[in-house]
């Protein structure tokens, strides 16, 4: 059999790659389950590299903040004494430390408020693609994390875990275009589906035409999607546009500042169900009768 002409090698390769991708996409779209093995393997490799890269960047930042930047300040302010520079630097470090402590305290407060079994995790990387809004956590399967576990910040819902490796996990943020959660307008108890717009905002769809919604209304999780527990704050209604009797678009501003996430709380397991109420025991004397 004649071998394919080497001049057309690129075309054959391109054709094979396109067909391979189409088959891969078809398999996932038809089964809705996807090839978890390939995805998990890719994710495990890349998140480990992301974690390492963030460690390097953190080191460089530490060196820059603590040494290079300080040298720059000294050069600009030669007349300032070294003591004053040291004190200022120390003050900055203290402030940064206080900021981190505040964040951790808020997380601990949240942990006490949520009845679920939880674990705290650090954000080690952002999204590797501008088309997806995700973060990588420094905890994974070893720490009990599993796909579809909800992730929270002290102010509200962050997203859900989509992929888990041994020591890292990828979280799909609620503002991602593929993300959705069952939501409810707290004031009017109107239910709908909250979806990510991909631009940092959310929208709520599938609302009743008679629903009453106003700007500033708080949107919380409805608890009917089997992922997010009921009553967690998602955001506030920013803009309501009506087209006749129906809602054209309801834009929600999330309460979580997704660009400033450093530590988050992962909900591992729901609280144990309350024991069923026992019928009141009759008094001993009555029982004897």
């Amino acid at each position: 059999m004649a071998l394919p002409d080497t001049r057309h090698r690129a075309r054959y390769l391109f054709g094979a790659v396109v067909v391979g991708h189409i088959l891969l996409i078809s398999a996932q779209v038809s089964s809705r389950s996807g090839p978890p093995l390939l995805q998990a393997a890719l994710m495990a490799t890349l998140t480990t590299a992301q974690d390492a890269a963030w460690t390097v960047v953190g080191g460089v930042r530490t060196v820059w903040d603590g040494y290079a930047y300080l040298r720059g300040v000294e050069a600009e302010n030669e007349r300032l004494s070294r003591d004053i520079v040291d004190l200022r630097l120390r003050l900055q470090q203290e402030r940064a430390s206080a900021g981190t402590t505040d964040q951790l305290r808020a997380l601990v407060d949240l942990r006490a408020r949520v009845p679920w079994t939880t674990t705290g995790a650090e954000v080690v990387a952002g999204s590797a693609s501008p088309d997806f809004r995700s973060i990588t956590l420094n905890k994974g399967r070893q720490d009990g994390l599993q796909p579809d576990m909800p992730v929270l910040a002290p102010s509200g819902v962050v997203g859900r875990i989509v992929l888990v490796a041994a020591s890292t996990a990828s979280v799909q943020l609620l503002i991602d275009r593929n993300a959705a959660a069952a939501g409810v307008i707290e004031r009017s108890r109107t239910q709908g589906i909250v979806l990510g717009n991909g631009d940092g905002t959310l929208r709520i769809e599938y609302l009743s035409a008679t629903a009453e919604i106003q700007s500033g209304d708080t949107v919380v999780t409805a608890g009917t999607d089997r992922i997010y527990p009921k009553g967690l704050v998602i955001g506030r209604v920013e803009r309501v546009e009506r087209n006749g009797p129906t809602y054209r678009s309801v834009v929600i501003k999330p309460v979580v500042d997704f660009s400033a996430l450093e530590t988050v709380l992962v909900l591992l397991a729901p609280p144990p169900p309350a024991p069923p109420a026992m019928p009141a025991k009759p008094a001993e004397g009555q029982a004897a009768k």
């Binding site: 690129a10 991708h21 088309d131 400033a260």
Partner: protein, 173 residues
Amino acid sequence: MTAVRVVAAVVVALLLQSVLARLAGEAAIHVDLVLVAVTWVALRFGRVSGVLGGTLAGLAQDALGGGVLGIGGLAKSVSGYLTGIVGTQFIVTQTVPRFLVFLGATAVNALIFMGLYVLLGLRHYDRPYLDVAIQGLSNAVIGVLVFEGAELLPGARERWRIRRAYRGKRRFR
């Protein structure tokens, strides 16, 4: 050796993009460093490298983002292949043609990526033109700078080596 360079370029771009997203937050959605790397690879090493680099980069982004595995891969493979063809059929050595190639690669990538998601009914885009235009311009500026930097680097190293050798000679006179 080319394969190693292609993989290295893609991996470095992936790591830089995730670090950028962590540091810059919302602003990071206006640049796709991974697409810049794929386009650079396709222009520098040809369409085969463009296809393979695009496949690797796109699949990695799909896996990390939790999207449908293959959509990003297909978009970036096609983008890399077409860029490779443009690189071999036309002279793309000046700043303006390179700028246009990066702009075009962003448009092709966005068209396939968004188109497939919308066709499959998995995503909704209100007005993506402005976002794509901004990302195209950012990618083009960064891509041109990457090319300029990559071309200046060997010359700068050579000049530094010559200067060092000259200083050494003067010291021994």
